[in-house]
């Protein structure tokens, strides 16, 4: 499994053609308490850069962009009852949706952990 990061503070953990997407711990810290997560429809086709998911916090509603294109295979239903999981486990149990990737080459444009940490450090 390889984890990639975006400049919009999403992460995607790719394992055998399936990517699990969430927001980074830095992002959840910036947003403050998450109050609601609007999840995409399973089966929906999403293109890289589209925003199939919205995260509401006490401060703002923020779109979550998909780091790569794909078909939505699964969404994290636990967030319907417990949106705070995104705060508590942003980069594990607070994942948002899973994609069946349709264009693996898009992964090449994403950052690894070290590059992302350097990017956040410069903000």
């Amino acid at each position: 499994m390889t984890i990639y990061y975006t400049q919009d503070h999403e992460w995607i953990a790719v394992d055998g053609g399936v990517g699990t997407v969430g927001i980074t711990d830095y992002a959840q810290g910036q947003l403050g308490d998450i109050t609601y997560v609007e999840l995409p429809d399973v089966g929906a086709s999403v293109a890289k850069g589209e925003a199939p998911c919205v995260v509401d916090s006490v401060k703002a509603a923020s779109e979550v962009y998909t780091p790569v294109s794909g078909l939505v295979a699964e969404v994290n239903m636990a967030l319907e009852e417990a949106p705070e999981l995104v705060n508590e486990q942003a980069e594990s149990g607070g994942w948002l949706f899973r994609l069946t990737l349709t264009n693996d080459s898009e992964l090449a444009g994403l950052m690894d952990r070290a590059a992302y940490d350097a990017f956040v450090g410069g903000l």
Partner: protein
Amino acid sequence: MNAHNPSGWRPAMPLDAPPGQHAATSSGDRGLMLEEPLIFELGQPGTCGVDLDEPEMAVLPGLARYLRSAEADLPGLSEPEAVRHYTRLSRQNYGIDLGPFPLGSCTMKHNPRLNEKVARLAGFADVHPLQPVETVQGALGVIVQLADWLTALTGMDAVAMTPKAGAHGELCGLLCIRAALEARGDAREVILVPESAHGTNPATAAFAGYRVESIPATIAGRVDLGALEARLGPDVAGVMITNPNTCGLFEPNMKRIADAVHAAGGFVYCDGANFNAIVGKVRPGDLGIDAMHINLHKTFSTPHGGGGPGAGPVVLSAALAPFAPLPYALRQSDGALRLIEEDTAPADHPQGLGRMTAFHGQMGMFTRALSYILSHGADGLRRVAEDAVLNANYVLRSLEDVLTAPFGASGPCMHEALFSDEGLPEGFTTLDLAKGLIDEGFHPMTVYFPLVVHGAMLIEPTETESKSGLDRFIASLRHVAERAKAGDPALKSAPHFAPRRRLDETQAARRPVLVWEGWT
């Protein structure tokens, strides 16, 4: 960074800070503390404020099955009990008639009582929109005269008077743009929205069927002209720009932006919510703007914020005027006024986009806005803009030594002063300052907006506030900021003197309880 609850305070925490840390407010004011139950918890069932006759008619055949089988669970209050209940509730409210209302981007200015007197004149207050037009010539005259003022003040060709508020006006403007593009067989897909725009702009563009793309802001808080020009192309229907923008800054490149958009075949929508800063000083039409809504409930002093309704007329350039919605009032060459509606539209207004509202617009707001305009005159309106900008700059410069003004170095602000949370000690946030201001007796400023500034505090004093009023507000915000800088723990649990202590906004959003406990 502040993860989770930005304030760190929860209702379960001790309510009172240790003795001595309960700093007195610098103003000496304290929030009114009246506890008031719900109306369902008051009175006795069966009590009624009026004498109702027993029904004389028998129940009509066939309707018996609709008869209620259980008692209606109505509150049982006498008239004075009901009057007192609502009056006590009203004393817990805060409004512009009680004190400054510094909500940035909301232009909460005084609503002159002269407006109210005019709006209550029988010829305006007691007319019906379906009356024959011969009987409402005076009311139509108000609409036309106000329309003339709005086009003159903005340097535009026409105005759609019917939209009901700002976002409705945005929709009207975008539908005009869509109609104009489709009329030339050039339907486009994208609306560009800079980061410094109002939050409603991208929502409106999406609602009008466009794909929204964001244009970044420069470090000076303005639209990144290079990024905008680079994105323009045959798929871009237009841009939506807020000017002055939500950082309280004027976009000096507005004409260049408009020229570039026009050269690429697009249209320019301007969010006119902040028109108060430039009314009488700048005509948006001269800047190349094609459509702009004017919030009568902001710039032109009609009631606002729960006291509405709003009104959002949209001024239009010559290119968009043919597509304005129906109906509209028109003065004929003989001086008589008539309404252009569907029956004559094929001849009078063949390209109009149709009707956005049932009737002619918010008549009660038109009378108030025209009253405001005529009582100020052109010179008075210019003075409004000057005083509003002067007041905002007075706030900005008076507080920039205790609060961080991210754009303070880029020159004067317009109608609103913007601060960030930079420099607040660890653990203290914008929210703490806002809650502290409540203890000082002030409605807080706009917080956490615009999003481009971290922990934003956006303060719009408007021209309403006198220098002494501003000095009181400034002293209170300074006091609160100094408490934060000194690490005063009592500030974390403010407000202490309001009817309610700090509420758990996170739980209120995550698990809202929206029904009364007695309701099943």
